[in-house]
Amino acid sequence: MKLPLAIADGLLEIISPHSARARGREPQPASDRLVWFAAMGLMALGTVMVLSSSVMLADRRFGTPGFFWIRQMIWWFLATVLLVVFSRIDHRHFRTWAPLILILGLGGLGVALTLPPIKDVHRWINLGPLRLQPAELFRLAFVVYAAAFLARRGEQIIWARRWLLLVGVLALGSGLLLAMPEFSAVLTLWATTGFLLLAAGVRWRHVLPSIVTAVVASTIVVYGFGYKKARVDDWQAGLTMTGGSYQVKQSKLAFGSGGLFGKGLGEGRAKMSYLPEPHTDFILSSIGEELGLVGITAVWLAFGLLVYRAWRAAMRAPDRFGYLLCIGIGASLLVNAALNASVATGLSPVTGLPLPFVSYGGSSLLCTAAGWGMVLNVSRFRLAGR
């Protein structure tokens, strides 16, 4: 399949579902249009909000008010292309490519770690004007790999030696991510894996002990040894209405001053250097301030819709891999968005994590779009009688 044709077909299909037939091509089942519109809507809102919240920052830092916005527009365009392309690629191919994709993701991590640090961390790979964030790619790669792995095991997931492979990959990836450090990526990775395992039918007696162990262990580590105790104290302070660390406090001030309808686009003050990352990790705060609870609810409904439709597509998936892929990508989005929002509203400790589809950043946007392109492809399949 030729790429330009695929893009054109995909776009045409969105605009007019029957045009493909008119052009004499073999008709294709339509992908889930709700997913498409929700994703495009979120990206559009993201572009607007990136513009609103980054103008002052960009002006001060680079002297170009539209520095971030223009890049985000380009990313949006590329993401749209990716969405279309991946929705046209039969997802079952990825099952076979899964190990290759995983190696690509791990390789990205490795490259980032071996390169000299940027701002004392190894999170990025610098390609001239571009900065790739291999963690984003790895997250997608791992979901694909895990889906493929679990699909192969069939309906019975048992504790066998092969498990060690998945656990090993997870441990390796987590280790590399922690070395970067990308703590939040590890967190979302594990949470997504949890969802995947649940969906794959893992037995409760396998899951519960590990969850209990993890909770007990982390409690002992935090309270018994005082490891990152300050972080936890900050977190607990952040749960109150006005307390918390500087970032959390500023973020909550932004939410609070937004009120129900917000201050209006561009009227926010949090972006005036009060919020450290108003266009990336804390873009939800900017939305909350400028568009109010109404805007937040809209964004949240869009995320909810995406996850629901992805899991709905999973239920109708033609194969076990498609099912797990949709579950995993939906769960990844849910976990990402929820963690980002929790940080912004002070519900969880501060970790750096972009809001999928909305935050500024090419790696995040492109990887998310690629993943949701796969979901769109899965959604093309309809099970008879359901």
Partner: protein, 704 residues
């Protein structure tokens, strides 16, 4: 390609229906928890959080209100504001105070370390960096582009009219533009206005986003003061006084011009050659410093004695050839005088005779008059730091009465003295001197300063005193300023200065003074001149009096006002502060109620003349030449009874002693209109019109 492999898929979905519900449940919980948190923050916490957000990003800056201008009566600017750049900072924890200190140390002329230490100690957020700096400094500071440093406008007080002595009444302001002295202090509340509050939004680093202060409260400019001062008269008076101070090598000089009817002060000069130029004038000596007035004070004694009826103008007293004993203590005259009338004693300023006259009053009665003229009490002028003067409590002995009657053993302010003379000039009213004619707010409304006047002298006494004072200029101690074109009436004073270290009077240090009004018959202008230690001549009539004459000459000449029209020329009044003057009441009546039968007869006998007044007003039995009435009344003129019974009181019990009053009363002409004569010539326009309008006959007494 996209065919569905039905078998496997169906079984998969069915098998995991329960897991699917679990997944959806977990997802919904997470989703809902986050949304609920947003709800909590944005609805329940909105008030608190938005207030906090505004608190951290709102910056308040004081928007200085321009201080009210001060203008003279013609609207000439005496005190204005010049807007200048000021810089302030909101240092927060991220602002490097060292950097600020390094930049500002040079322009503030302070050391870097001192400034840095000082600013580190400041925990409040607002700090002035530089206030009211020059344009070039402002440009360079703006060029530094320091974060957290903002510019605003403040005002600087400038007194553009460099009039000599103007600093005295105007005063000055301190660094915070609050009035510190003079009118600036007295009217500080009105002049100051209300500073506004500017509100702008700043980012976390203190960078200012809004260019202009938004919202907030605009400043309310201060009220504008329109003074009674006239810059032209002020400069003329200052020049004349300055030249007198130079000519007579005086230590200092003070002078004052005011409208005797309203108390509006037209000029106020305080010259002290020992004061370095540009020095801050902290006080206005005309109201805050006291001196022993000497002979100028005698007007109080004469007014009291005449009012109480213990003497009359033509009564003779023995001048004692220049000295007299009071309680065994001698009092001397400058020149020896023999037997002279009260009128002559005033004209030549005889201490002995004045002492004798005062002794016809006791000390209590004299002090009553002293206080009635306002001495020992603040005049109520609208200037801060006024002194009430001091009237020492003394034993009622002849010498104490005598010394007080000639203006010693009492300390008064020049302003009090001027107010006392104003009562003579305006027909007997004690006025409150003031410097502010109107307070103007930006919307143009005027608030007049109320003028209060209490009658302290009967019109007939006023008439006599006016003529006494005219005689001082024509024939007495102030002959130097006798000028038919400029009829001034006044009184001189040449007082020995008390030496505070020895407790005695210095025999060769004098305070020369002159208080007078012009024109003599219808005064529109009252002037006071005081010279401290003029050398080599000490006399007030020679040193101080010419200052007033020259000032009046120059002041009226440049206005092209003939002296004869002076009475219609409002030098010192304008529509704003002109009180409702009842001219008819001001007209002088004098009958001579002081004449008891015995005294009248004695007087008549002594001069061998018989005075009589007919109902028609024609004098009868009036001998030609310098005897008779001339001796009796001196140069006094006559009068007519007031229609109000109070104003003409008849002291003594015998109505036979008052021929004119008697004749008027018996003829039933109680509502005879007043008419004033002077020097035998029919008098005021007002009186004539009154009489013609009313159809009443005038009663004239012509002397000479």
């Amino acid at each position: 390609m996209y065919r569905v492999q039905g078998r496997g898929g169906t079984s998969l979905a069915v098998a995991f229906v329960r897991r699917r519900r679990l997944l959806l449940g977990i997802g919904l919980c997470v989703w809902g928890a986050v949304w609920a948190r947003a709800l909590q923050l944005q609805i329940m916490g909105s008030t608190v959080l938005s207030a906090l957000a505004e608190e951290q990003s709102d910056r308040r800056v004081c928007l200085a209100a321009p201080r009210g201008e001060i203008v003279d009566r013609q609207g000439r600017l005496l005190a204005i504001n010049v807007a200048k750049r000021s810089f302030f900072a909101y240092p927060d924890r991220e602002t490097p105070t060292d950097g600020l200190a390094r930049h500002f140390a040079s322009v503030r002329g302070q050391s870097f370390t001192g400034l840095s230490r000082e600013w580190k100690k400041r925990h409040d957020r607002f700090t002035w960096m530089l206030r009211r700096c020059s344009a070039t400094t402002a440009a360079s500071v703006t060029g530094w582009q320091l974060p957290g440093v903002y510019a605003t406008w403040e005002y600087e007080r400038v007194y553009p009219t460099a009039l000599t002595g103007i600093a005295g009444p105007l005063g000055f302001v301190n660094d915070s533009l609050n009035g510190a002295a003079g009118l600036e202090a007295a009217y500080d509340g009105l002049l100051r206005g209300a500073d506004g509050v500017g509100l702008f939004v700043a980012d976390a680093n203190g960078h200012r986003f809004a260019v202009d202060p938004v919202a907030g409260r605009p400043p309310v400019p201060g009220r504008r003061l329109r003074l009674t001062l006239d810059a032209r008269w002020q400069s003329i008076l200052a020049e004349e006084l300055d030249s007198a101070v130079t000519t007579w090598q005086a230590r200092s000089g003070m002078a004052l011009l005011m409208d005797p009817h309203t108390g509006a002060i037209l000029a106020m000069v305080d010259i002290d050659p020992s004061r370095p130029p540009g020095a801050v004038v902290m006080k206005n000596r005309l109201v805050s410093d006291v001196f022993e007035p000497g002979s100028t004070f005698k007007v109080v004694t004469y007014a009291g004695a005449l009012s109480d009826g213990v003497v009359y103008p033509g009564r003779f007293f023995d001048g004692g050839n220049g000295s007299g004993l009071f309680s065994g203590r001698p009092i001397h005259d400058d020149k020896p005088h023999g037997v002279i009338t009260v009128a002559e004693a005033f004209a030549v300023s005889s201490n002995v005779v004045t002492g004798r006259i005062a002794n016809r009053l006791d000390l209590g009665r004299l002090d009553f008059w002293v206080r009635r003229f306002g001495f020992g009490d603040k005049t109520g002028i609208d200037l801060p730091g006024e002194s009430p003067g001091r009237i020492a409590i003394q034993k009622n002995s002849d010498v104490n009465v005598a010394t007080r009657s000639i203006g010693h053993g009492i300390s008064v302010t020049p302003m009090q003295l001027a107010v006392a003379y104003a009562a003579v000039a305006n027909g007997g009213y004690r006025i409150r001197p003031h410097l502010v004619a109107a307070v103007e707010s930006p919307d143009g409304t005027l608030s007049n300063v109320a003028v209060q006047g209490e009658r302290i002298l009967r019109p007939e006494v006023v008439c006599i005193l006016k003529n006494f004072m005219r005689d001082v200029v024509c024939n007495g101690t102030a002959k130097t300023i006798s000028d038919s074109l400029y009829p001034i009436a006044g009184k001189t004073g040449t007082a020995e200065k008390p030496n505070l270290s020895t407790g005695h009077y210095d025999k060769n240090k004098f305070m020369a003074s002159f208080v007078g009004f012009y024109p003599a018959d219808q005064p529109r202008l009252l002037g006071l001149v005081v010279l401290d230690q003029p050398e080599p001549i000490h006399y007030g009539g020679i040193t101080a009096a010419p200052v007033l004459l020259n000032t009046i000459r120059r002041g009226t000449a440049s206005d092209n006002v003939p002296a004869a029209d002076m009475r219609h020329y409002c030098i010192a009044t304008d529509s704003v502060d002109e009180p409702d003057v009842d001219w008819s009441r001001r007209l002088v009546e004098a009958v001579g109620p002081w004449l008891t039968t015995t005294e009248a007869n004695a007087a008549s006998d002594s001069v061998g003349a018989q005075a009589n007044v007919s109902e028609s007003g024609e004098p009868s039995g009036h001998p030609a030449g310098e005897t008779g009435w001339d001796r009796m009344f001196g140069r006094c003129v006559a009068f007519v009874p007031d229609t109000t019974p109070d104003s003409v009181r008849v002291p003594g019990s015998d109505p036979q002693g008052m021929p004119l009053l008697q004749s008027v009363k018996t003829s039933g002409q109680q509502d005879l209109p007043p008419l004033v004569l002077d020097d035998g010539i029919a008098m005021t326009q007002e009186a004539q019109s009154d009489s013609s309008r009313g159809g009443n006959r005038a009663c004239r007494l012509i002397q000479r």
